[in-house]
């Protein structure tokens, strides 16, 4: 284990920020910490970096307990969301700062700084002060500084948060390769589920002062531990409909019957929430099997897909997503059918994912 957190509790004054967080990250893994703002992601990174200390619990890096170990002795590289460049030093000095601390000889230092800068395409602005750099260059300088000393543990706190959309897109493509080349154990914080899915070997979803679910991107997307996580992953967001499961197992929606996977038998008779991705719903002719009528309310064309908001007869809103360019109704009444094979059932009271017969809930549920 490269990073091992055990029962971390952190309070700020009276506020409980983290409550019993445990996490094991094997060497070389890229773990994405995902969650809404205020969930404690940044606090967790700072605890690992050692700039703040936990009230309870232990942090071990590379098998060594870190209690009482100062941040400068933890051998970590970290990039901050706000870049935190040293304003009075030029980009070269900024990137070189982890190397000067390690007393790297001058020639090696220059070589290494240039190498990292070249990798991140900022070698032409090394002489500039932070205020002379563009946002993208600042972000790359901050990243280069984190990478410069080739740390075995890399903490990246939402490094793409403050850069424009184009750069974010480019970096999202570039980063996985870059991180793989580092051979480091990486914790990557983000609020963007696409970034999380693209970069993470595993994703840890944080909510309510703790970790709600840890799993591979597929596990989190296909079997989210609760409705909250289901809603966070996916754009447009998953449809969540209150249903009662009948024997079959099946559910009734606007007069039509939707037959569920046999594995949902255990949920028969229960009040549930049905989770169905907008991609699993299609516009069909009125006489198609399982078709039921909806009233079209609005259509939003996105780049690669078109999202339609429709209301069922019971006035429940449903999002339907189809690839851009395919024909679909724009207004009036239309009929839709659901592909229920990937549908999820959540307990209505707790929001937790209901177990399916023969299928364990994938990933660890914390």
């Amino acid at each position: 284990m490269s990073i091992q957190l055990t029962d971390i509790v952190k309070r700020f004054k009276k506020d409980l920020v983290l409550d019993g967080v445990s996490l094991d990250i094997p060497t070389g893994e890229t773990l994405v910490l995902f969650g809404p703002s205020g969930a404690g992601k940044t606090v967790l990174l700072r605890l690992i970096a050692g700039v703040i200390d936990p009230e309870e619990g232990s942090i071990a890096l590379r098998g060594q307990d870190m209690a009482g170990v100062e941040p400068e002795d933890r051998g970590i590289g970290m990039a901050f969301q706000n870049f935190a460049l040293f304003p009075h030093m030029d980009a070269h000095e900024n990137i070189a700062s982890p190397l000067t601390a390690r007393q790297v000889p001058d020639a090696t230092l220059k070589e290494r700084v240039f190498e990292v800068a070249h990798l991140l395409k900022i070698d032409h602005v090394l002489g500039h002060k932070p205020k002379e750099l563009s946002n993208g260059q600042k972000q790359r300088t901050a990243l280069a500084r984190a990478l410069a000393a080739q740390p075995s543990i890399l903490l990246l706190d939402d490094p793409l948060r403050n850069v424009d959309a184009k750069l974010r897109f480019e970096m999202r493509l570039e980063l996985p390769r870059l991180l793989r080349e580092q051979n480091a154990t990486v914790i990557y914080v983000t609020q963007d589920y696409k970034e999380a899915m693209a970069l993470g070997d595993r994703i840890a979803v944080m909510s309510d002062r703790g970790i709600a679910q840890v799993g591979t991107p597929e596990e989190i997307y296909l079997s989210p531990a609760n409705t909250q996580i289901a809603r966070l992953f996916g754009d447009p967001a998953i449809n969540l409909l209150d249903v009662t499961v009948q024997a079959g197992p099946k559910i009734a929606l606007s007069g039509a019957e939707v037959v569920l996977d046999a594995a949902h038998t255990g949920a028969v008779g229960q009040d549930c929430i049905l989770g169905i991705r907008p991609e699993a719903i299609k516009f069909v002719p009125a006489d198609a099997p399982g078709a039921f009528p909806v009233e079209i309310e609005a259509e939003t064309p996105l780049n690669e897909k078109t999202v339609t908001l429709a209301a069922t007869q019971a006035q429940r809103e449903i999002l339907i997503s189809r690839p851009a360019g395919t024909p679909g109704p724009v207004s009036g009444t239309a009929h839709i059918a659901m592909d229920a094979s990937g549908a999820l059932l959540f307990d209505r009271a707790s929001g937790a994912l209901l177990p399916m017969a023969g299928k364990a809930i994938e990933g660890e549920v914390a």
Binding site: A49, F86, P87, H88, P98, R102, K131, R145
Partner: protein, 285 residues
């Protein structure tokens, strides 16, 4: 803005001129007075046409004033030296003690830090005389009265709270992440203080140092009570110009001009540190 009308420009010019005249005229007049004899200064009506003379400056610098009433010994130059020495040392000691303390108050937030910082500020609440009377007695008993060391110590009452509170604000304004980043990069606490916190707070330290110097330089009451002739700064020494044979306006004016010069020079020098931005472009958001 180019949309300003000519009238607006003219009015603005007049307003600025008026303000400058109001504040600069006394200094200008004193500057003129310093080149005049008592007779030309006191003539009615006053005029800015006169024959300039350097006798005032000569008298101050040589330490002897020859007048019709006879020769008068003036200690002005040693007073000037005392002022410079006392103020400089007070500010240096104040910075050495105050800057690390300001960092501790601003960053480390230890138990009771707010209370201690406030207590230090409260030194400025009491009228100086209230502090001075008991202090004089103590100083006489322990042999600190009329010593540079004792005066510099007492000057800390003026200098230290000022430096502490100004510099503390600047330390607090440095985003903590910048310091964290330097620590995580592998540098220790002290290296971070020297290489990150100090340079970034430099405009504040310069401002506080300059203000503290001016306050120390202009101090009158501490030196009046605690120092005798050979340790007196110019503020107290200027009393000597009020002589039995009349008030030496020309010398007072020349003395003022000479004693403004060091603070003016320092202010001009420190200006470039004062205008430097704090952490422009370092942190987003």
């Amino acid at each position: 803005m180019d949309t300003q009308s000519t009238l607006e420009k003219v009015l603005r010019g007049i307003a600025i001129t008026a303000v400058i005249l109001f504040f600069m005229f006394p200094i200008f007049w004193i500057f003129l007075m310093s080149f005049q004899t008592n007779e030309t200064i006191l003539r009615v009506p006053p005029s800015i046409v006169f024959e300039p003379t350097l006798t005032n400056y000569k008298a101050l610098i040589t330490g002897r004033l020859e007048s019709t009433a006879g020769a008068l010994e003036i200690e002005f130059m040693s007073n000037l030296f005392n002022s410079a020495y006392l103020s400089t040392m007070a500010v240096i000691v104040g910075l050495i003690l105050g800057v690390p303390a300001a960092y501790a108050f601003g960053r480390l937030k230890f138990r009771g830090s707010e209370d201690i910082a406030f207590t230090l500020l409260s030194f400025r609440f009491a009228p100086p005389l209230l502090v001075l009377l008991p202090l004089t007695i103590y100083f006489q008993q322990i042999g600190l009265a009329n010593t540079y060391f004792g005066l510099i110590w007492v000057y800390q009452l003026i200098v230290l709270p000022l430096i502490l509170w100004i510099v503390r604000g600047y330390f607090e304004d440095i985003p903590a992440d910048i310091e964290y980043a330097y620590r995580i990069a592998g540098h220790g606490f002290w290296a971070t203080f020297r290489k990150i916190a100090l340079p970034l707070a430099m405009p504040g330290i310069a401002a506080a140092g300059l203000l503290a110097f001016i306050f120390a330089w202009n101090n009158f009451i501490f030196a009046l009570v605690l120092a005798s002739a050979d340790k007196q700064p110019v503020t107290v020494g200027a009393l000597a110009f009020v002589t039995a044979s009349g008030i030496q306006y020309g010398q007072i004016a020349a003395g003022i001009v000479l004693s403004i010069l060091p603070t003016l020079a320092l202010a001009l020098y420190a200006q470039r540190y004062l205008v430097e931005g704090l952490s422009l472009g370092a942190v987003k958001g």
